[in-house]
Point group: C2
Chain length 421, copies 2
């Protein structure tokens, strides 16, 4: 007998027919003798509908009232899944965030889970009852309803698995796992049986939108074994007979080092914009003067390139920010124009960040060099470079995205032997 | 300064534009120096949508989970109204049923309010904050979400007014008050400035669907002054300058006895069906034998006519039941066929119950006779008759409904001098 958390996203909960499919998957786990808690998202589109109501009511809505409104989407699906499970003969009940309770911080609309009381939950599981828990919600000080921010249901599931000391947290979604790259670009992309938390963090944050980054960080911290798999193609297995992708610690991957690739996957991200400040004084403190106003506006700066100094002690500074924050970044820099002393502010949005990720590169040199060679061979110009212990990223012209991803997927030997359907 | 409860129905809450209108009405009361609690319904159509989800999930849904699902409609509108009020500079917060709490019985999906804790509410009102309260919901044993049954928001508002010792409970709806009869049938129908609780109970239960019957009964018991008025035509006033219709105790009406009419209003109800059992043995106990199985199936029998005995000690028994329960009533009677010993079971659904209602008839004889005369003059056949202290009802062929209502409205002197627009 295992204790597991199953989490279902919005597309899996979109309508009673799909909820019945979900209930069937839950029933299978119960019949296999497992203790099961299920964490559910709102029906696809429902949270957007509710968020829009709040925005329409007031652009400056009270986040505490916003939480009352938007948390109802998961409340609805929790009750409906409990009813559906019961109708299949599986004892079940819903537990709202305030009922367990799931205690959170008071940062309404983006709260953090602080404590989950599992007393009632454990009693229910011991009685053979499935616990259905709305994701995304909790309760803050003064028993006010709170939510975790968009995509928070993955985090709810991992936190629940940690609190319950679950053997596994299965995240059901509309893809059957994590791939070596986007299969829409590379049909020969392979599903990965296992990735490490760190790899998943890098893959998720650079565009492989399978799991919310925050939930992967929490899983790593709490050592929760997470599996990503499809709620639609429930028979889909890889060559080794595994379903989905398991996300685990380094140590588990090392055990099967034989299979280990140097590079685990190729990710890309079109959500960055490039800013160049021209003719910035080339003296100590200038770079700090640029990034301080951005930090104060809570804008994340990613890739930074400081060009070699030109004549007259001046240089150009180039960096990237999320596209969604470009306007705010421009504002902040315009206001600091005199303090920084730059000549012009240039922006560029038709760019893409392509990254190769893999824990294997820790013990191997030459990964970056191989990347630059492969791109150079296809005449793909590199605008900027960043590296971490398990990742090398390059910034390129957006038009070259697909070509670059395909070239790198082949160069690192990731192509499957047979093309996927 | 007065303390008032304002209640808004589904059409008043259908979308942000209408919620803004509602917020404007609330703001006016606050600016007039009143302490205000607002009770809201779900957006029009939302509860139906949620109920259908539950039914689709399982015809035999768990009412506790149904309550979790359907209570979310009012949760949404509560948060949205609080946001809208704040955006107009009116301090406000939502209080969900479990937060106050509003304690109810455990009859999920049709719970009764048992106790409302007003401690937190009173503190909020004293702070000048508007309390926005979702109607229809409460919390039962074990902190499980409960609902009061369809139309329960009127009951929530009256219960809240009683618990808060409010000076008035204003029920805003899509009509501007209670009329002497349906203005779609009689354009010269007049809006009533005041009716008694008992009259309202009779008018509501026979078809004037302005207020949920249960809420009127509660208002009578708790002596809550209820006013029904429109949230749309907010300038509409009657000849005496009153807005809406006030529903109060007998004693308040007596004070203005000069204006008092013999009959307050004419109601009609097309939701009944007639059952006739032919050739039933005419002996003691037979009638009990007919109505016992119906009572056991919780089917309300309304009008009963036992025909004069024919030959051979047999008679026909005719009575009415709600149309919605006709099939179940037939089932129950088929099963008791041998015990009762009837010959045939005949049903008729094209019938209508027309009633004249008024506390004035207590002290006047001849009301029923005037009714029969007026109907006979127009050759309208009476199938059955029932009377109470303040009501006379007749059952007629459905086709004659409008004619009968008009004839009676004129006969009792209820027509306005000028036709309504």
């Amino acid at each position: 007998m295992a204790r597991i958390v199953m989490k279902f996203g919005g597309t899996s909960m979109a309508g009673i027919e799909r909820i019945r499919t979900v209930a069937g998957l839950v029933k299978s786990e119960v019949e296999a003798g497992n203790e099961v808690a299920v964490v559910v998202s709102a029906m696809a589109g429902e949270t957007d509908r509710l968020v829009n109501f709040c925005r329409e009511a007031s652009a400056l809505y009270d986040p505490r009232e916003y939480d009352v409104v938007v948390s109802s989407g998961e409340q609805i699906t929790s009750g409906l899944l409990a009813i559906t499970l019961q109708s299949m003969g599986v004892p079940a009940r819903s537990w709202l965030g305030w009922q367990l309770p799931i205690k959170t911080s008071d940062a309404h609309a983006s709260a953090r889970i602080e404590d989950i009381d599992t007393t009632a939950l454990n009693a229910a599981l011991a009685d053979g009852e499935v616990a259905v828990i709305p994701g995304f919600q909790g309760v803050g000080t003064g028993e006010r309803v709170s939510t975790l921010g968009r995509g928070g249901s993955d985090t709810s599931a991992v936190a629940m698995a940690a609190a319950m000391k679950a053997d596994r947290c299965d995240i059901y979604t509309d893809v059957d796992g994590v791939y070596t790259t986007d299969p829409r670009i590379v049909p020969r992309a392979r599903k990965l049986s296992k990735v490490t938390y760190e790899e998943m963090l890098e893959l998720a944050s650079v565009g492989a939108k399978v799991l919310q980054t925050r939930s992967v960080g929490l899983a790593m911290k709490e050592k929760v074994r997470v599996r990503v798999l499809s709620s639609f193609d429930t028979d889909m297995r890889d060559e080794s007979g595994h379903r989905g992708t398991l996300i685990v610690g380094d140590e588990e991957i090392e055990e099967s080092a034989m299979e280990r690739q140097l590079i685990t996957g190729i990710a890309y991200d079109k959500n960055e914009a490039q800013i160049t400040l021209t003719r910035v004084p080339d003296k100590p403190g200038t770079v700090a003067g640029i990034f301080r106003p951005l930090a104060e506006a809570s804008i994340n700066v990613d890739m930074i390139v400081q060009n070699v100094a030109k004549d007259k002690g001046e240089t150009d500074v180039t960096f990237t920010v999320p596209k969604a924050e470009l306007a705010r970044a421009q504002d902040a820099l315009e206001q600091a124009r005199e303090a920084i002393g730059y000549h012009r502010l240039l922006t560029k949005t038709d760019i893409c960040k392509v990254s190769v990720v893999g824990v294997g590169m820790r013990s191997h040199a030459g990964v970056a060099a191989a990347m630059f060679d492969a791109l150079a061979e296809r005449k793909i110009n590199i605008l900027a470079i960043t590296t971490s212990e398990i990742k090398v990223s390059v910034l390129i012209e957006e038009d070259y995205t697909e070509l670059a991803v395909r070239v790198l997927h082949t160069a690192y030997g990731l192509d499957a032997e047979d093309a996927a359907a």
